[in-house]
Amino acid sequence: MAVGDRGGDRAGAGQKARLADREGFLAWAFLLPSIVYLTVLVVAPFGLTVAFAFSRSTSEAPSYRFAGLRNFRAIFGDHAFWRSLIDTLALTAVSTVLVVAFGTILANVLLADFRFRRTVRTAVLLPWTTPVALSAISWRWLLGSAGSPVDRILREASLLHGGESPLARAPSAMVSVVAVHVWRLTPLAAVIVMAGLAAIPRGVWDAAHLDGAGFWRRFFGVTLPLTLPVTAVAAVFTAAFTVGDMAVVRVLTGGGPGDSTQVLPALAYLHGVDRGDAGSGAAIALFLFPLFLAGVMVVLRVMRRMGHRP
């Protein structure tokens, strides 16, 4: 900033010192509240979670009693935990891949010019802007009740028999959970990728046309490489929101049928709140942390790469 350049006399130097001080002070003063707030309500509680994981605290006896690895040994021995962990990872991986694929296609389409673009754009936002639980309820109704369009379609296709719904049997229940996650997060990924696409200078597209690149060559030779960082960010966000989400499972299937869709966060909630065992719940929730770390590293790597672009 050009304010206060090199002054010669002492009054000038004093003036400069005060302004610089003020700027530094101002920067701190403005940033501090947010940093303090986030530290107190995110970093500290995370530390607390770690602490709880090693404690024997429950809602009846809430005081902190150190319990070493007791909780971990308990959950490692619990079949439901392992199942939940694997299910969560699988669910997240599959959802992320699907979301990125659909999101990229959707992003390309949304950027094109066509009539009713406004309406389509608004409709496409519905899954993500609606409260998770409410979307989940709607899907539960759509999937689980006799007489709904989905129910009828599936029956026509002989995929359903008798009086059951996709939510009532183990494999299809998980598929439904994946479907709802993909449905929910594709718009978000699409918006992020849209931004990446729009950031490509227009001239590059013209050059590709002039150079005679057909649709697929343009896509694989120009579009994909240039949107890779943005797609990575979209993938990280998707994974983060899928892995940490318990609303869909809780409302759609309640973890059922019979614990087959009990993802990690829902399991943590089950242990920590429903059953009142804070130590166990915290220990389970902790397993979400490595995934968060992985996401952080990807984002950092992408940011660094983007910083080097001209």
């Binding site: 001239g203 590059v204 013209d206 050059a207 590709a208 046309h209 002039l210 030779g221 001209p310």
Partner: protein, 357 residues
């Protein structure tokens, strides 16, 4: 498309091109308003005009990046309306050069060849050939962000060159370079074109550039073609006041006299004693300011008698040593055959009118 034996057909022909598009606030903009233009083989044609005149739109329409609302485009004698750029065998260098940022220089140049499925060994040979021609063989493994502006331009030219197009289209290629580089690059571009011999259409808003480079100049304004001709024709016989004032720096002086505008270029306005007695028109010039530029004297002042009182500029070469002072009124003159007359209302070139000496 064979072009060598087609001396009868033109390299590029635009017929009655109209381009209308929706501007901001839903206003309809006529970027091209009925343009008829043709370019010969091996010719260096420059589209000259101020920003917004439609020259870039015209170029893009010829390239196939824009579709005309009305009119036809012919390349090498073939109607190319509706055909994508690659079929038209045109190559275009955009103002921003538009190099693929994630590819090396080598891959950038190779890209069009890959798109046309040229076999590998042939591709390599062509890339080398283009790089050598443009003097950039040692840059092949670099990426665009590591290159200077001039180097990037060469890569863009090499990429255009490998396609061996029927027409080269250049969109303000010198505007991204600093002043010193511009002069040398201008020279190189001309030599490059002579060497390659391909028809070139070049867009610029800089009239000096246009006059220096072109075999022919096409002056555009507000989507309309004002005049097409050699630089000499444009300069000496402008078709209207727009061309007259746009080309040439300082611009042509225009004095209103009745229903006419009398035009004369600054270099033809000299102190009367320096102009041949028998065929000249004299006018008193009240000197307001003088500048000394590169040996010339630029005299700024007001003239009367030949028309309405008007501010004019006179450019005196160093050989004219008539002493002049700011504030004095001196008799200046213009040779009669250097006067140009324009219709005062429409600006078009008009018949001469007798002016007393």
């Amino acid at each position: 498309m064979r072009r060598r034996d087609e001396s009868a057909t033109k390299a590029v022909e635009a017929k009655a091109l109209v381009k209308v598009y929706q501007g901001p606030r839903d206003k309809r903009v006529r970027a091209l308003d009925g343009v008829d233009l043709s370019s010969n083989h091996s010719e260096y044609l420059v589209l000259l005009g101020p920003s917004g005149c439609g020259k870039t739109t015209l170029l893009r329409t010829i390239a196939g990046l824009e579709r005309p609302t009305e009119g036809e485009v012919h390349i090498g004698g073939q109607l190319v309306n509706g055909l994508p750029p690659r079929i038209r065998r045109v190559a275009m260098v955009l103002q921003s050069y538009a190099l693929y940022p994630h590819k090396t220089v080598h891959d950038n140049i190779e890209f069009p060849l890959k798109a046309e499925h040229v076999p590998r060994h042939l591709r390599e040979r062509k890339v080398r050939w283009a790089a050598d021609l443009l003097g950039i063989p040692d840059l092949l493994s670099r990426r665009p962000r590591q290159l200077s502006g001039g180097e990037r331009q060469r890569v863009a030219l090499a990429r255009a060159l490998v396609r061996e197009p029927a027409v080269f289209l250049l969109d303000e290629p010198l505007s991204g370079l600093d002043a010193k580089l511009r002069a040398t690059t201008r020279d190189e571009l001309k030599r490059f074109q002579r060497q390659i011999g391909t028809a070139t259409i070049y867009v610029t808003h800089d009239q000096e550039e246009a006059m220096g480079l072109a075999d022919r100049v096409a002056v555009l304004e507000a989507g309309r073609l004002r005049q097409v001709g050699t630089p000499r024709d444009i300069y000496d016989e402008p078709a209207d006041t727009f061309v007259a004032t746009f080309v040439g720096a300082p611009p042509m002086n225009l004095v209103q006299r009745g229903d006419r505008l009398v035009g004369f270029r600054p270099e033809h306005l000299l102190p009367a004693e320096n102009v041949a007695y028998d065929s000249r028109v004299t006018m008193p010039l009240r000197i307001e300011r003088m500048e000394y530029l590169s040996g010339d004297r630029h005299v700024y002042g007001t003239v009367t008698r030949i028309g309405l009182e008007t501010r004019v500029i006179a450019r005196l070469p160093a050989t004219v040593i008539t002493p002049l002072a700011v504030g004095e009124t001196h008799e200046f003159a213009v040779p009669t055959d250097r006067l140009r007359f324009f219709d005062a209302e429409y600006g078009t070139r008009a018949a001469p009118v007798r002016i007393g000496g």
